[in-house]
Structures are given as structure tokens and as C-alpha cells.
């Protein structure tokens, strides 16, 4: 019986399926040409327009043939349960949509060009935070479910088609507001999928109940019944998913912090953490030997913060309608007191009202001044405007300069600010008009005369490799040189702008760079290798010990003379304490399972070790005692 129903539904929808096949063939043919831009646009149209269109059309055909031919009397009088009938039709029609998806996935696997252009396909800004590639398929699936569910109500297929599209659009708007609310309270990256699932279930249940229990011949009653159930289930879904997310996060949500955003400062370690739905800055306090909360909340999506003097600046969500992903700058003391907003884009009286604050805001080394970048799109001139602002942390003395950058630039990040020289070092990504990444570029901006100078092209950015020294006078970074294509690790003097080449190779395979607290030495890891570089002597030295495969488990100790390193020995892992000339002074066995990267921070005779997705331990190097601190 299922096979017959399946064949029937396929037969009735053969036209739309044939259209999908033709479009796929066109996509394949395009991909074999050099018309990359056309392929990208065509692929985009296919994803954004055709898939949802096809989904709506297939779904709305659900019971159309029964209405059109008045065959529902025939079908309902057959010996088949109505719910079975509904489900079989649903599965049959869904299979058509899934086969279209499958064709696309297969094409993507075998056409590397298609893969490449899709990876670089940019979606409208407003949805970038929500929609990943998989969403291009979730949305049509939800559209299909909605249109199939309401196809039991009316005999005009195109009416069902348009109403389904309208319902889907309204629900997306509702979802945006829901997201705004949820992300104010809890950050939950899976909320869109949860929301989509609940919408789908609500419509399915409403449709099934109406179909199974109510009179198919009475359209008005049917519509009313369906509407009542659908609204009820949608409201229940919204409430349940909110409670579920909140409860889940409160009691069982993950607690983790992110080493890449950590900073060692005055003997403590500050880091961005996710604690059961709330993102915030926390620190390991050496004196109290425990983790302490520094900020109440922090941005869900921007984890960088800056420390200077007695202050920390970080980002936190602004309250702009329809732009929930934008942030304000907040300031807090390093002991967690005095938390308050510093720069508010949602304050109409603020000079940066409605701007977007870009990544990598910086505090001066004395913590008295802050510098940041903003972005605004000038609709009249159709131009991006980047502005650099600097001001005192008490809000006075605001200065600004507009900056111009050539080409299609994205992803700004402030790297360093040299106040005496009044120049700024920032990085941005240059993309093609079709948003394909071209290069990451580090430029020097003179804040006096706004001149710019490219310091590095083709920067190789890794999350642990672009590091300013704790003394704020040097920057370590890697880039690929032209025309030789060699990759080099540099140290840039932020005052004199002198570049020192530390290491070069065809492929650096650089993992992490760690500065000593006095800013005169670095340790850096390559795959299976650890090196030290001494700035004063301009001396490079390979560490004799073999590095642990996940190359972030090393760091200088606070005395700037020794460093620690995780080493594998006979299948077990140890923490090795070495002098700067690589002589091992001590080796302590790690009594915990090591699976994946272990991040190390060297403090004053103590070492913090963060296990991947696991706890943070403090090891006393003298007593060799371990303590779990987080």
C-alpha cells in the first residue's frame, strides 16, 4: 500500500522533480565552466529560492488531487486508517524533497568548485548569525511541513502555497524576536533548530488531529479546528522550548572557558567563559586560589577583552531592535567591581548610536584610555564607514577619525595601540566581490594624519598565534611572503616598527605563541616541535624535549627563566619543568586522562592546566599537589 501511495505522489509531482533535475544539471554544467561568479549566483538562487519554492509546492500538493478530483470520498472509504493515510502521504512527498536535497549533496561532493563557491556564499547580514549551510535545508523542510499540514484545509493548491509562505515568513519574524529575548538571557546556538523542530511538530499535530477526527467535508469547521490546535501547539512549543533551554542551561548546561581568549595579568589568569547559558569574564585568582566572577555577562559571540591598568573592557549585547548581534563596550575593574557600560551604541545620546562596534577594542597600558573601531553603512553614499574612536575611560575626551580602506574588506580587529606614537595596528580581511577570502592584512594607521601602511600581507591567523607581549611593546605574528611563498614568524616592535624574522619555512605549521611576562622571550610550537626565541640575543633555540602532539600545553613561568611543557613518556603524560636552555629540572606525572589539547598557563611556581572540554587544575610545582579549580 505504501508503495502504491508513494508511486502515486511521485507521479503527481513529477513536474517539480523534473524541474529540480534540470536545474541540477544546469548547476553541474556551469560548474564545469570557468563562470565562477555565475555558478555562485546560480547556486545561491537554487539554495535560497528554488529549494523553499519546491518544498512549498510539493507540500501544498498534499491533498490537492483528492480535492481536485473529489476523490477524498473514495480514499476515505478505503480500509486504511486516516492517520496512516496522512503519514504515508507525508513520507511519500517528503521523499521527493529529500531526493532533491540528496542530488544537491552528491553534486557538492563531486564538484569541488561547487563546494568552494558554496563555502564562500555570503548570506544577508541579518541572518548570518542564525543561518549556516545546513539551514538552507532546514528552512525548506519546515516550509514543506507547514504547507503539507495545511493542504488538508483547502482545495486550491496555490492558495495553500502562498499562505504557507506567509506563515513561514511570519514565524521567522517571531523567531527573530524570540531569539532576541533568549539571547538576552541565554545563549543557545541550537535554538533555531529547536524552534524549527517545534514549529514543524506543532503543524504536524494540528493537521493530524484535524484530519483524523474532524469532518473533511466542512471547510469552515476544519479551518477553525486546525487553527485552534496550531496556535495552541505553537504557544506550548514556544513555552516548552524556552523552559527547556533555560532549565537545561541552568542545571545541566555546559560550563567551559576558552583558553584562546585568556590573558595572564599580574599573576592571575583572565578568561572568557560560558557558564550554563551565561557568557562572562572570570579569572583565576592566585591569592585566593580559586575562580572568581569578574563580569555579570559578556557578549555571546565576541570573546576578546582587553586589560590595562586596573581595568578590563569587553563587549556585551546592545539593545537595538532587529540588530541583536551588536554590542556595547563595558568596563569593569580587575577585581570585578564597578561594572558599567562605557560605549553604548543603543543610547541615542551617544555619538556612536546605531554604529557597529568592531572586534578587538583596546585599553591603554595604564587603563585610562580606550580605543575602538566602529562600522556604519551609509545608505545614501552606499559606502561602509569605518571610524576609529579613542577616549578616556570616564567618557571624556572623545576623538575620532574616519578611515578608508581599499577593496572589499571585512573582519576588522585591533591588534595594538602605541599611544606615544599615536599609531594603531589593526588587521582586516580582504575579500573578493563574491566574498571569497583573498588575504588578511595588517596595517599601521597613523592617527594624526590618517595615513596607512601595510605591514604584513597574507597574515596567517591562528587562534593562539597572533599575540601581543605582556609589556605591550611587541607583536608576534606569522605571514606568508610573496613571491617566495615562504611562511615566516615575525616579531614586530610596536614603537619602532622594526620587524624581526624569527623563523621561516615552506609551511610553518604554527600552533601557539607564548610570551614571557617580561616580554623578552617567546616560546612557539610547530607540529611536534617547540622553539624558544630570545629577543635580546636574537637567538633561536629548539627545545630538546619532544612536544606533546596538541601543541598548546606549554608556557613560561612567572620568573621568566623557566617554562613548562607537557610531554608524552611511555604512553603517559607528564608536565616537564625546564630551564630556558631546555634542561629538565623536574617532571611530574599528570594523573588525569589527556584526550585532546591541554592548555597551560605558567604562574609563580604554579601551573594551570585546562583539559579540553574538561576541568581546570592548578599544580603546585613545589609540593606537586593538584587541585581542581574549575
Amino acid at each position: 500500500m505504501f508503495l502504491k501511495i508513494l508511486l502515486k505522489e511521485w507521479r503527481e509531482n513529477i513536474l517539480i522533480f523534473s524541474l529540480a533535475v534540470i536545474l541540477m544539471l544546469a548547476l553541474v554544467v556551469l560548474n564545469l565552466t570557468d563562470l565562477k561568479e555565475l555558478t555562485l549566483n546560480f547556486s545561491g538562487m537554487f539554495l535560497i529560492f528554488f529549494l523553499p519554492f519546491a518544498a512549498l509546492l510539493i507540500g501544498s500538493s498534499g491533498f490537492y488531487s483528492e480535492f481536485k478530483d473529489n476523490a477524498w470520498v473514495y480514499l476515505f472509504s478505503r480500509p486504511i486508517k486516516k492517520e496512516v493515510l496522512w503519514v504515508l502521504k507525508f513520507i511519500s512527498l517528503l521523499s521527493i524533497l529529500l531526493v532533491i536535497f540528496l542530488m544537491f549533496f552528491i553534486a557538492r561532493q563531486f564538484l569541488p568548485g561547487l563546494n568552494e563557491v558554496l563555502d564562500n556564499f555570503a548570506f544577508p547580514q541579518e541572518f548570518r548569525g542564525i543561518l549556516s549551510f545546513s539551514m538552507y535545508f532546514v528552512i525548506p523542510l519546515v516550509a514543506f511541513v507547514i504547507s503539507f499540514s495545511i493542504s488538508i484545509l483547502y482545495d486550491r493548491q496555490f492558495v495553500i502555497f502562498f499562505i504557507s509562505g506567509l506563515i513561514g515568513t511570519v514565524l521567522m519574524v517571531i523567531y527573530q524576536q524570540y531569539l532576541l529575548f533568549m539571547e538576552r538571557v541565554y545563549y543557545y546556538p541550537g535554538s533555531f533548530k529547536i524552534f524549527s523542530l517545534f514549529i514543524a511538530l506543532s503543524f504536524i499535530l494540528a493537521s493530524l488531529i484535524t484530519f483524523v477526527k474532524y469532518d473533511f467535508s466542512q471547510m469552515g469547521k476544519k479551518i477553525l479546528t486546525f487553527s485552534k490546535f496550531a496556535v495552541l501547539f505553537l504557544v506550548v512549543s514556544l513555552v516548552l522550548s524556552t523552559i527547556g533551554i533555560a532549565k537545561g542551561e541552568l542545571f545541566t548546561g555546559s560550563k567551559d572557558f576558552y583558553p584562546f581568549s585568556s590573558l595572564k595579568y599580574e599573576g592571575d589568569v583572565y578568561t572568557y567563559a560560558y557558564q550554563r547559558g551565561i557568557s562572562r569574564i572570570i579569572k583565576y585568582d592566585s591569592e585566593s586560589d580559586r575562580m572568581e566572577k569578574i563580569s555579570e555577562k559578556s557578549s555571546h559571540t565576541r570573546s576578546r577583552f582587553s586589560i590595562g591598568g586596573e581595568n578590563i573592557i569587553y563587549l556585551r549585547e546592545a539593545r537595538l531592535p532587529k540588530k541583536y548581534w551588536l554590542n556595547n563596550i563595558w568596563i569593569v575593574n580587575i577585581d570585578g567591581s564597578g561594572e558599567k557600560p562605557l560605549v553604548e551604541i543603543d543610547n541615542p545620546d551617544s555619538p556612536v548610536y546605531n554604529h557597529e562596534i568592531l572586534d578587538g577594542n583596546l585599553l591603554s597600558s595604564d587603563g585610562k584610555e580606550v580605543i575602538f573601531l566602529t562600522y556604519l553603512f551609509d545608505k545614501d553614499a552606499r559606502k561602509k564607514i569605518i571610524t576609529v574612536w579613542w577616549m578616556n575611560v570616564n567618557g571624556s575626551g572623545i576623538k575620532k577619525k574616519k578611515l578608508e580602506f581599499p577593496g572589499n574588506y571585512w573582519g576588522f580587529q585591533l591588534l595594538a595601540w602605541s599611544e606615544p606614537e599615536n599609531h594603531l595596528i589593526l588587521m582586516y580581511e580582504v575579500k573578493s566581490q563574491t566574498f571569497k577570502p583573498i588575504a588578511k592584512r595588517v596595517v599601521l594607521v597613523n592617527l594624526e594624519n590618517e595615513s596607512q601602511r601595510t605591514l604584513f600581507e597574507n597574515v596567517i591567523e591562528g587562534i593562539y598565534t597572533l599575540r601581543t607581549s605582556p609589556t605591550y611593546d611587541h607583536l608576534a605574528l606569522a605571514s606568508r611572503g610573496e613571491p617566495d611563498g615562504k611562511e615566516r614568524l615575525f616579531i614586530l616592535n610596536l614603537k619602532t616598527l622594526e620587524k624581526k624574522t624569527v623563523f621561516e619555512a615552506d609551511l610553518l605549521k604554527l600552533w601557539a605563541v607564548k610570551w614571557s611576562q617580561d616580554g623578552r622571550k617567546i616560546l612557539f610550537s610547530r607540529t611536534n616541535e617547540l622553539w624558544a626565541y630570545f629577543l635580546d640575543e636574537n637567538r633561536l633555540q629548539k627545545v630538546s624535549q619532544r612536544n606533546y602532539g596538541h601543541e598548546v600545553g606549554f608556557d613560561w613561568l612567572a620568573d621568566n627563566k623557566r617554562f613548562v611543557l607537557i610531554v608524552p613518556v611511555d604512553g603517559e603524560y607528564h608536565l616537564s619543568v625546564l630551564s630556558e636552555d631546555s634542561k629538565e629540572e623536574k617532571r611530574i606525572k599528570i594523573p588525569y586522562p589527556v584526550e585532546g589539547p591541554v592548555f597551560a598557563w605558567g604562574l609563580n611556581n604554579n601551573v594551570l592546566l585546562k583539559f579540553r572540554m574538561g576541568p581546570l587544575f592548578r599544580l603546585d610545582l613545589e609540593t606537586e599537589k593538584w587541585k581542581k579549580v574549575y
Partner: protein, 291 residues
């Protein structure tokens, strides 16, 4: 008596219009039941509720002594149903429809289906949209009979057909089935064509059965009585069971059910010039009861 179908207090309304109200019916196995009613009286609604196409508002339906609900489906394997208009998926061919339909019935008899196709001279490759009304009826018969139902429901299937086709259908098919012991519920408003084939008669009016009798007994006991007298007969007819009465001065025509000896004597006791008692055919009976 072996009941095959029992309906108790069935009610259904569409909006404010009450179509069936506390409807009751019992059908015996092996009988042909004729259900008459003028258009819009609820015959199709009743049948659709029996077939689980639409749900009743109230009441119960029992098939072979088992209560059936709107969601039940298994009993439909034993019921064949030909709707008022044999409506199927117009894009299918006859062969495709029969194949599609066969998947619902474990007892589907392909040989029988093919035999009927040949008997009715239907080309299996013909698309349903190209079939005439008569051909669709024949196809509907094949769809129904090939599943070898124990109980057959026909909802005004011959309406709109020409006389020879109706004749073929009724005389050849229905008679054949009833002789084979299939229980048949035949709903129609074309009264005369079922006269020779039904065992029981029901007349539907105002949402309920106003008559539910063995047809042969009914025919013997419903009479048209023509009276003439020298004086006016107004208010003189006082017997029970007068279905209709037409008085025209000294002439009177009454339809009486049931006609008994006692009633005859009572009428004769009136000062009459003449009294004629005439039998009625089904059409006349229906008109009298339905008017």
C-alpha cells in the same frame, strides 16, 4: 435474524441544519434494502457516515455486531461502496486505479476484476478522465466487486445514466449479487427502478426513517382508497393510518397504511356511494409518504 448493520440514534448536522436526528436502522444479512428520500434528506450523509468518510455528531453504528468508530478501517474491507458519482483520480488509467485500489484489499480478486473489465468492454489503458459517466459506474462496480465485499452500499449510482445502462446495472448486476447473498443498501431517488429488487424499504424524511418495512408486506398493506358519497366527507374519515387525504366535496381519496378489515368496515359504515381499494406501486407509495 442476523443483523449486518445496526444504526442507533445517529445524528448529524451541518452548521445549523440538522440533517439526521436520532436515526435508527437495522439491516439483515442477505437482504436488499432500498433507501428512498427526496434530494437533500440525508441519504448520502448517512452512507458517508457508515463508510467513515465523515464523522457523526452523535449515535452509534454497528457492523456485524461490532461497534465501529470514525477511525476504524478494518470493517471497510468487507464493504463495497459505489458513490453517487464514481470519482477517482482522473489522471490514472483504469489499470493504475485497479492496481492502486487492490493494495487496500487483501481479498482482491484480480481474475474477477479482469473478467469484469472484459464484460464491460473497458480498455485498461484508458485514462479515467476520458471515461463517460456510465463507464465510470462500471469501473466503480469493478473496483467494488473485485474486493468481494459482504455488504454493498450504493449511493444513487444510476442517477444521470441512460435507461439501457441503468437496466444493465440493476437487472444484471444487482440481481446477480443479491442472489449470491450479498447484503445491499441501495439509496436512490429514482424510485421505480428498485421496485423489483428490494426486500426492505426505508423512506427518509426530516432526518429520520418515516417508514422501515418489509417491502412485500408493505405493498400488500398500503392501499389507495377512493370514496364517493352524496354528502361531504370532510371530517368523516376517522380511521388510523391515513397517510394522505384528498377531499374534493363528495369525493375523497385516501392512502391508508396498514389497510385492515377493521378499517374497511369502518369506512363502509359511512354513507358511501362507492368505495374502491387499489394497490400502489413503489413510486406511489414513496410519493404518498414523502409528500
Amino acid at each position: 435474524m442476523k443483523e449486518i448493520l445496526a444504526i442507533k440514534n445517529l445524528s448529524k448536522s451541518f452548521g445549523k441544519k440538522m440533517v439526521l436526528e436520532n436515526f435508527n436502522l437495522i439491516m439483515e444479512k442477505g437482504k436488499v434494502y432500498g433507501l428512498l428520500g427526496i434530494n437533500g434528506e440525508g441519504k448520502t450523509t448517512l452512507i458517508r457516515m457508515i463508510m467513515g468518510v465523515i464523522p457523526p455528531d452523535d449515535g452509534e453504528i454497528f457492523f456485524k455486531n461490532k461497534k465501529i468508530s470514525f477511525r476504524d478501517d478494518s470493517y471497510k474491507k468487507e464493504i463495497g461502496f459505489i458513490a453517487e458519482e464514481s470519482i477517482f483520480y482522473s489522471w490514472m488509467s483504469i489499470k493504475e486505479l485497479l492496481s492502486f485500489n487492490a493494495s487496500f484489499y487483501p481479498k482482491w480478486n484480480t481474475r474477477k476484476a479482469n473478467a469484469y473489465l472484459e464484460k464491460f468492454s473497458l480498455d485498461p489503458k484508458t485514462r479515467i478522465r476520458h471515461l463517460s459517466r456510465g463507464m465510470k459506474l462500471k469501473l466503480g462496480l469493478i473496483v467494488t466487486l473485485a474486493s468481494e465485499p459482504e455488504f454493498l452500499i450504493l449511493d444513487d449510482p444510476t442517477s444521470g445514466l441512460d435507461v439501457p445502462t441503468r437496466h444493465d446495472f440493476l437487472k444484471e448486476i444487482i440481481k446477480e449479487l443479491s442472489e449470491a447473498g450479498t447484503t445491499i443498501l441501495f439509496s436512490t431517488h429514482i424510485v421505480h427502478e428498485i421496485e423489483g429488487i428490494i426486500d426492505n424499504l426505508g423512506i427518509l424524511k426530516f432526518g429520520n426513517l418515516i417508514l422501515d418495512e418489509d417491502f412485500h408486506e408493505l405493498k400488500n398493506s398500503v392501499k389507495r382508497v377512493l370514496l364517493t358519497s352524496d354528502e361531504s366527507l370532510e371530517d368523516k374519515i376517522t380511521i388510523d393510518g391515513v397517510i394522505t387525504q384528498k377531499i374534493n366535496g363528495t369525493q375523497c381519496e385516501i392512502v391508508v397504511y396498514p389497510w385492515t378489515e377493521e378499517k374497511k368496515k369502518k369506512i363502509e359504515a359511512l354513507n358511501l356511494n362507492n368505495m374502491e381499494v387499489k394497490p400502489m406501486n413503489l413510486e406511489e407509495i414513496f410519493i404518498s409518504f414523502a409528500s
